[in-house]
């Protein structure tokens, strides 16, 4: 299924900026960065549990927030892109 992960991390201090980098890296391991703090990930339920655990252990729940949108397996008709940086379809033909 496709999930959309977005986050806000408080970057006022160095520790916050480190959390931001780590969260971005984790999300990148599972999906595609479509905007600065927006990731589209194709995961199965088990992978999602792992990813969620990893993210919550990095974040600081007092200052940061993460939102996960469940787009299901029929996600293609629920996503529309307008403008630059169109990205790739992770379930389409991958050819470079």
């Amino acid at each position: 299924m496709m999930v959309l992960i977005t986050y806000d991390v408080n970057t006022e201090n160095a520790a916050g900026r480190k959390r931001l980098r780590n969260i971005a890296k984790k999300c990148e391991d599972y999906g595609q960065r479509v905007q600065l703090s927006v990731f589209e990930c194709i995961v199965d339920p088990q992978q999602l549990v792992v990813l969620k655990n990893q993210l919550t252990s990095i974040m600081d729940e007092r200052t940061d927030s993460i939102r996960i949108y469940y787009l299901g397996s029929n996600w293609e008709r629920r996503v529309e892109h307008i403008g630059a940086k169109p990205g790739y379809n992770p379930e389409g033909t991958l050819m470079v």
């Binding site: 890296k25 391991d29 595609q32 194709i42 033909t93 991958l94």
Partner: protein, 343 residues
């Protein structure tokens, strides 16, 4: 049921593949072209000269992602494999079965019978739709020759006779293959199967698709823990994935031949998309290769009702499903191997 994961095809010259975290990054001229999480992939297939980092090979090995290298024209070079996994007991049973008759011959017969049935279906379907009367008669004649070969196989025959019958059947199948090409006929002419090198455009496409398909079948066999090198119909030879070639027989007509035919008949490939090499070989150019690969990849996502499992499966998982059924038969959980017959 296993999920159909994606295949990453790398066809750009001088691409550099490396690992970053859990992702595969492809760079061309130092510019990042794509970055894919390894979890979404089951195969990385590279065509032509390129570079690949060892950490990526390590990651692929650890995650059971098969990394294969081909020449730009589909000649198989190498595969990177991780540690041997799967069930040693299953492999031992496979080795024992492959050196024991009648187990070996029976299984070889099943592969050939399925291939003949599928070839026949390809022909009959083409005959039904064909508008030219003489061609239709020819095709129907070849189809009945295939039925005849299949009937001969039902007698107890030795492995050598079986291979002989298969060869004859392949000959009559390919003798009418040219009739199955209905568009761009003057540019795409098929006389006989030629390989190493392919001598015409149709053969070039067939060889390429067979190579890619063989790689997929091989991955599927490894995925269920069978040894792709120990075959039943094909003799063992160093470096030859005999079992992959065995299992592939039943897929050739349905997955590969029909794909090539429809690309030609729908004019998705153009006669200009080929190159002659000095050795007389006809080879595809970059664009044709890409068309072929994306058509193949799209075809893999089509769903069919599997005749034995009675379940809807994407075509890309067909090799995996058959490998799984084969493993069950070898292990003794099934009384016979239900080869894939297209209806």
């Amino acid at each position: 049921m296993k999920k159909l994961l994606n295949t990453l095809y790398v066809t750009s010259k001088d691409a550099y593949l490396h690992q970053q975290g859990e992702t595969v990054v492809v760079k061309v001229d130092g510019q990042e072209k794509i970055r894919v999480p390894i979890h979404n992939l089951e195969n990385i297939v590279c065509f032509g000269p390129m570079t690949c980092s060892t950490p990526l090979m390590e990651l692929c090995g650890a995650r059971n992602v098969y990394l294969a290298f081909f020449s730009e024209f589909g000649k198989f070079y190498a595969r990177v494999e991780g540690p041997v996994h799967g069930n040693v007991l299953l492999r031992k049973q496979q080795f024992a079965g492959a050196s024991r008759d009648p187990f070996r011959t029976d299984l070889a017969r099943t592969f050939v019978l399925a291939k003949l049935a599928n070839c026949r279906n390809v022909l009959l379907r083409a005959a039904r739709e064909h508008h030219d009367e003489t061609a239709r008669v020819d095709i129907q004649h070849a189809a009945s020759e295939l039925s005849e070969s299949a009937r001969n196989l039902l007698e107890p025959v030795s492995l050598d006779v079986l291979r002989g019958i298969e060869g004859e059947a392949a000959k009559s199948y390919f003798s009418v293959f040219n009739h199955l090409i209905v568009a761009q006929k003057e540019d795409f002419v098929f006389n006989a199967r030629s390989r190493r090198p392919p001598l015409d455009k149709v053969n070039a496409m067939l060889s390429f698709v067979y190579a890619v398909l063989a790689n997929d079948v091989r991955s599927a066999l490894e995925g269920v823990g069978l040894d792709p090198a120990v075959g039943f119909l094909h003799a063992d030879r160093p470096g030859r994935p005999s079992l992959a070639l065995d299992l592939m027989e039943e897929f050739r007509p349905y997955l590969a031949d029909r794909l090539v035919l429809s690309l030609i008949n729908r004019q998705q490939v153009k006669p200009g998309g080929f190159e002659n090499s000095a050795s007389g070989a006809i080879l595809m150019n970059d664009e044709t290769r890409k068309t072929l690969l994306s058509a193949y990849q799209e075809r893999k996502r089509e769903q069919i009702q599997h005749p034995f499992l009675n379940e809807s499966v994407p075509l890309g998982l067909l090799a995996h499903v058959q490998a799984m059924l084969l493993a069950r038969y070898i292990r003794g959980d099934l009384d016979a191997y239900p080869a894939f017959c297209w209806r």
